[in-house]
């Protein structure tokens, strides 16, 4: 079996002491930032990128991936204990998880989340191993027209989940594409939008943009009102679910895993869509649907399984097509580019150890997470209530040192400050920064694919709809936008992001 051989290769890569260490460091950090208030995986990964440049590519990607799925675990802890979702994907977990905690069942809720996540993570690892190679195989046959349309699809899909106004988010995508073009044109070398600054001729660093818009802007937003987080549970005891609990969580975990795995693959989705869908579906099909909202264990098991499965399967488009499905994946793509790996369908065949190593490390990481989370839950509980006034100056310091060390220049620090201010203004105007970051990464690639596609078609843009695969992808993109602008869906989306 080729799969076994591949997983064996992955295992031997992921099990080296160095990589195990970085995997552990990644999931530990991920859990930590998931628990800490006001710090998300995007900002954290952006801050750590400069540090990882000196690591071997496999180790750095293993660690960055660990931060991402680790933060899903940490996010659920705060959802359950303080009713404040640490991550957008844990929003629905708070609905029933917090109610369970209020009834003195915080331990069981946390255990359920961990068990569901671990199971989902295991399944998603297998899904990733099974589906990524054939997908890459197909993508290897893509021409420039297909890749261009695929990127359009990815960007349009990212709009569906954008908070706030759809129109504003569309503008952010276009703005991101434009910003991505700053610097020397790949083909002609013409300096574009550099205003004569030599520092800009290599373009604006995406880490600088990400830290400004997700790090600094987020700090300012959190400073709008500094709420105290009050813990209802000072000590978590009795982690063990009862026999009845076990019986009730099996089916939701299975359904959540399936829903999360499928939705995670969609571009623009990641873990968020899956957790919402899983909760909604579970509420419909469950025998205990009357208990939902007042502490139903199904309401924790399903979305927690789904968000972890989705976090992992969202690596599929990133690893096979080079298309980021969310800002975290965009940063991972950036990390690969800086490490000298061209993201895209050839990664699997050219870097098999890297590809399979990352996949297997995710399963190992999930194992670490169960071990880290359940016995150490007392420590994480204390982290939940770290006052923000101690946290944000430290975040700022990490951003400053990190950005400076990228190119060893203060210029980047100033650019980051500008993007922090700009990012905050956009947040206030309901302009979501996530689609902008995706577009920023994809901008230069899209231009290049469009250029090649039009060269092949002798300048006829119809090539984009004459080639069947390309046409299907553009069609799906349009469909996504139509669905997103339906009043019914729009209302649901607004509700979903309420209280987030």
């Amino acid at each position: 079996m080729e799969l076994i051989a591949n997983l064996g290769l992955g295992l031997s890569t992921a099990m080296t002491p160095l990589n195990l260490l970085y995997c552990l460091a990644g999931v530990f950090l991920g859990t930590l930032i998931g628990v800490l208030p006001g710090l998300g995986p995007t900002a954290t990964i952006a801050m750590l990128l400069p540090v990882t440049f000196s690591l071997p590519p496999v180790s750095s990607l293993i660690m960055l991936a660990g931060i991402y799925y680790g933060s899903q675990y940490g996010g659920s802890t705060t959802s359950i204990l303080v009713n404040v979702p640490g991550e957008a994907a844990s929003v629905v977990t708070a609905l029933d998880g917090y109610q369970m905690a209020r009834k003195g069942r915080a331990g069981v809720a946390l255990a359920t989340a961990a068990i569901g996540s671990f199971f989902a993570g295991t399944v998603a690892t297998v899904v990733l191993a099974l589906f990524a190679p054939p997908l890459a195989e197909i993508a290897l046959k893509f021409g420039p027209a297909e890749f261009f349309s695929l990127m359009v699809l990815g960007l349009l899909a990212s709009l569906v989940l954008a908070r706030g106004s759809l129109l504003h988010a569309t503008g952010m995508v276009v703005l991101g594409l434009l910003l991505g073009l700053v610097g020397a044109d790949i083909t002609t070398g013409t300096q574009r939008f550099t205003f004569g600054m030599a520092r800009l001729s290599d373009g604006i660093g995406f880490v600088v943009v990400a830290m400004g818009m997700f790090g600094l802007a987020e700090i300012v937003r959190n400073l709008e009102d500094e709420d105290d987080r009050s813990l209802i549970v000072k000590k978590v005891s009795n982690l063990m679910p009862t026999k009845e609990d076990w019986k009730r969580m099996v089916a939701p975990i299975l359904r959540g895993t399936a829903i999360g795995s499928v939705l995670g693959i969609l571009p623009g989705s990641g873990s968020i869509l899956g957790s919402f869908a899983a909760y909604a579906i579970e509420k419909k099909v469950s025998k205990h649907s009357a208990e939902f909202g007042s502490g139903a264990i199904e309401g924790v098991a399903a979305p927690e399984s789904a968000n972890n499965a989705g976090a992992q399967t969202s690596f599929i488009p990133m690893l096979t097509l080079g298309i980021p499905s969310n800002p975290v994946m965009a940063l991972m793509i950036g990390a690969m580019i800086i490490q000298g790996i061209q993201p895209g369908p050839s990664v699997i065949s050219e870097q098999p150890a890297l590809f399979w190593g990352i996949i297997v490390s995710m399963w190992i990481g999930n194992l670490f997470l169960v071990v880290l989370n359940l016995p150490l839950v007392g420590m994480w509980v204390r982290m939940v209530s770290v006052p923000y006034q101690f946290l944000f100056p430290a975040i700022l310091v990490f951003c400053g040192i990190g950005v400076f060390s990228l190119n060893n220049t203060e210029f980047d620090v100033f650019v980051m400050a500008i993007f922090g201010v700009v990012g905050y203004i956009f947040v206030k105007l309901d302009c979501e920064p996530a689609p902008m970051l995706l577009a920023f990464i994809l901008g230069p690639m899209m231009e290049e694919y469009l250029r090649r596609a039009l060269l092949l078609s002798r300048g006829d843009p119809m090539i984009l709809i004459q080639r069947p695969i390309s046409a299907v992808m553009l069609g799906l993109g349009v469909l996504a936008i139509v669905v997103a602008s339906l009043p019914m869906f729009y209302k649901k989306r607004e509700e979903a992001f309420q209280g987030d």
Partner: protein
Amino acid sequence: MNPIRNNAKDFLTGVIYVAIGVVAALLSRDYGMGSAVKMGPGYFPTILSGLLIVIGAISIIRSFFKSGTPLGRIAWKGLFLVAVATVLFGLVVRGAGLVIALPALVLVASLASTRFRWGHALAMAAGVTVFCILVFQIGLGVPLPIIGSWFVD
């Protein structure tokens, strides 16, 4: 109806988009359009600028007909101090070194919190400075001076 009062978000977003779009379109004219077969450096930016202007214009028009949600509280103080602290760090880190730049960043930023206390902030500044020098400068070898060139000949 008054767009600034009733739908500031749409109106301001539109104005920003149109302004950026117009500037980008004007700049792109110097880059050479080329043709569809052989896209010049100005081709793609011109398309994007046009799109941005259209999106901005729709947003402005919408703000006259539809009321939106209010802007909400704006953390002016936070925005100002976070930006100032960051720029200050960039300005002094090379010359004065981490030993000055880090406490300066922490103290200025800490002022943004409504719960600011001198005691806490000073302790934070000292802790963060020691930690970062140990981890980044000594541990990871980030090429930032502990004591900057202004103090060393």
